[in-house]
Subunit: 369 residues, 2 copies
């Protein structure tokens, strides 16, 4: 693994891809047909219902190990996915993944406050890391994760699945390509009425409320639809602290962002109402997605020169989850950069911290461009 | 007119309606079939293309006089609408409307900065006033207008036509009635790409840019959909001052409002992109209007318990314009309050001033509940 790691690291750091990537190829060719192995860390609902079933649609990735604090889950899913007992770990034995060459990467699907610790331990164990969003609960943690993966010469990717979903990819292409004229305004709303009794409502585990969990989709979307980083942030929070769900985390938070080009975005994050949409409004029309970031069933309409056209695409043969899992595998195997590295998660957390600060202090927060 | 004026004034001031209204009726009964006469003040595009044709659909109102600074317009529209030369006025002869008993009210459709002056002069001439929105260009002007109409014992109504449009009326009923659960978030967007060379782009005449002209629809909608006054205002402006259209007025301004009940609103106002929609999001679904406030062609959808239903209504036999014109007529004739009095225009201007202040000073502005 050493040679490949060095290649990967240098490729990431220098941005010089092709020659080094080619140099890294033999390691792959030496094991034809071998798929890139993930250790799934955390066997909660998202892991077991969305991610693990998605491997069936992967061309380059497979589940090679499981990590859980619940022996019954290790037994159940180990049997279901054919993961041998030697490849099942608890959090106590987690660091032994270093000795398992079948594990190329870990996929961290733990409560938010555990992302940094396990990402860093995985990097130190010599593994690439896929980490769920939000990347962590603070900018400082994100920076530590990036440093750990760099030091290890391993890749760090954040689970921004929408970037592997064809409607969102088309929206990015159309928005940034000026299909409806230069973008002026983006509106983005994400939310759902949350059920009580989950770790997401426990601030020490989640790091925050709706913004950390679902509002991040609004934020990430306006960033990928513009390709810019916001410079001004204004936010207002509204939380009924008498509601037992919201004793420690926020319910609703709305925020305005201004980007260097003058694009403005209005965003919604909510734990007490359902939202899943965005709209890019240019000088000549708009690109509308609703639902914008579901697991499936995206719908897209484009208004241009006064005419609205349905741009919903036929179902993709490959799910966004499989696309995401294969992407890291291919990036490692080919020595190419991932499109959503740790820096992308860090960029979201920078804005998230500014949003919280703006709402808390009742003032706008300016970010460095 | 004196008796009726006193009745109207007392009804307005005391809120005690029925008995006094009945007392006012004889004045009407004395002239059976006589319609309430409006003097149209300002013969621009909105007056001549929307308002004046709408009188054909009125049951209680008619055009009885015209006021314009352009003799050719007075001649053209005077002939078209059968307004005799004795009932045509210039701005110099405007105050002579006091002597014309065929004029019950004036409808001020002038550039924004002229609303206050002509509304006040009309009240002093003993006329009821219908004034286009924005009511004026400052809170102080609005207060002076209200005082003038009160002193004259005459009604003052603002041209919020959407309040007489069935989809908006239904939206208000559903939103305030909790049809999709208590409202949590409202998003409202209004804008259009403005053509150069109009008074709307000249701040001394308009008092401001997109917010005064089209963004006020977003603001007014969130106020009528909640029935509340906002307590917190945050705004960001984005204007390319190199664009010759925006030398003196703003292009885009986005703003967040928080209401006493915890409802949050995100609003868009734009002069460089097309928007005409709002959505009320409750705990159980949403009420969506797009277009929300057009002259015609409204469309409404409601999502409740996961199911989306088209709630677009069949065309109304009476236009929103005719409904608005008849409303003031009926309120005067019956001695009942108008639903959009000067206080309604004042409330919008209070928030508009706060939005401008927030954008200018880069800080949130708190309003008194």
């Amino acid at each position: 693994m050493t040679d490949e790691s060095i290649v990967t690291r240098r490729t990431l750091m220098t941005g010089v891809g092709l020659g080094l990537a080619a140099a890294g190829m033999p390691a792959l060719a030496a094991r034809p047909g071998r798929k890139f192995g993930y250790a799934i860390v955390g066997l909660g609902s998202y892991a077991t219902k969305q991610i693990m079933p998605a491997f069936a649609g992967c061309d380059h990735a497979k589940i090679s190990a499981l990590v859980s604090g619940t022996p019954a889950k290790l037994e159940q899913f180990g049997t279901e996915y054919g993961v041998p007992k030697t490849h099942r770990y608890s959090y106590e034995t987690f660091d032994r993944i270093a000795d398992n060459p079948d594990i190329d990467a870990v996929y961290i699907i733990l409560p938010n406050s555990m992302h940094a610790e396990y990402s860093i331990r995985a990097a130190r164990a010599g593994k690439h890391v896929m980490c769920e969003k939000p990347m962590a609960i603070s900018v400082a943690e994100c920076e530590a994760m990036i440093a750990a993966s760099r030091t290890a010469g391993k890749k760090l990717m954040i689970g921004y699945r929408s970037r592997f979903e064809p409607h969102n990819q088309l929206a990015i292409e159309l928005a940034r390509g000026g299909h409806v004229g230069p973008t002026r305004i983006i509106t983005a709303e994400h939310g759902f009425p949350i059920q009580p009794g989950q770790w997401r409502l426990d601030k020490p585990l989640s790091g925050g409320g709706s913004l950390m969990d679902i509002g991040i989709y609004s934020l990430n979307a306006v960033r990928y639809l513009t390709g810019e980083e916001p410079v001004d942030v204004m936010a207002i929070e509204s939380t009924d602290r008498a509601d037992p769900r919201f004793r420690t985390v926020e319910d609703r938070i709305t925020f305005l962002l201004r980007f260097p080009s003058g694009i403005e975005a209005t965003c919604v994050s909510s734990y007490s109402s359902a939202h899943n949409s965005y709209r890019v409004i240019g000088t000549q029309g708009w690109i509308d997605m609703e639902p914008a970031t579901p697991y499936s069933g995206h719908a897209m309409r484009v208004r241009k020169d006064g005419k609205v056209t349905d741009r919903t695409l036929p179902p993709s043969p490959k799910t966004q989850f499989a696309g995401q899992l294969d992407h890291l595998a291919q990036a490692v195997l080919n020595g190419t950069p991932v499109i959503v590295p740790g820096e992308e998660g860090l960029a979201d957390l920078r804005v998230i911290e500014a949003i919280y600060r703006s709402a808390r202090e009742g003032r706008p927060v300016r970010l460095q461009a």
